[in-house]
Symmetry: C2
Subunit: 117 residues, 2 copies
Amino acid sequence: MSSSAQKYDVFQAIADPTRREVLKLLAHQELPIAEITAHFPMSRTAIAKHLHILSEANLVSGQKVGREKRYRLQPETFQELKDWLSYYEQFWNNKLSILKHVVENEDEDSLNNKKTD
Amino acid sequence: MSSSAQKYDVFQAIADPTRREVLKLLAHQELPIAEITAHFPMSRTAIAKHLHILSEANLVSGQKVGREKRYRLQPETFQELKDWLSYYEQFWNNKLSILKHVVENEDEDSLNNKKTD
DNA sequence: TTGACATAACACCAAATGGTTTCATATAAT
DNA sequence: ATTATATGAAACCATTTGGTGTTATGTCAA
């Protein structure tokens, strides 16, 4: 019982540029809200909200240390995204272009095998 | 001169569940708006807007065929996402835990050299 | 205990988002 | 030429989002 009808999922969480910046920051080290805020041109409250959203999406987690709350990256969650992406990966590198043909069994693309880097 | 200050980027485009469903649909075959709409409990106009957003993010492209406009997946763009993700990948599999060491220069993890893959 | 600091919790607001309906335009079919 | 079909575009609306400021609570230091 870790997730109960969360309002924000990973996709929404990373949609905001500020939140992506926060993730980048936390990639290198864990930080308290105040320090994170120092990197942005907005209020601490705003950043706290972003952190809350990131936290709800399990992209970060916060540990209370004294009167601080230190946030850190929760990198495992990125796997969700990777999994989602991997479904589409087959379509842009044509590793599975043959499979695609078989599955669709209906498109008349010329079988041009273009191996893009 | 392909992209001029686009309003929607890839991250925003995939943030919406409906748009992700549209992508999934188009993964298998290219489709005109009307047919796409048939899969959703909302108006054609709404879907058209979603397609416009996906198109602006270059995740799909539309070709006009007669009076139809057929939309198809533009899978190359997913690479953007993959690139973004790959930055964080290093943190959840420790492929680059050594690099992390160097960059941070502050944590005292044992130097375990684990070359995955 | 008192004061300073770090965060949490509200109430509030403007703008963006995701949907609607209606009207216009282009193409196909009869 | 007329009608039906497929889309485009506009005006409109409710809700969500991303920000603000203020007040409350908990913790550390004197």
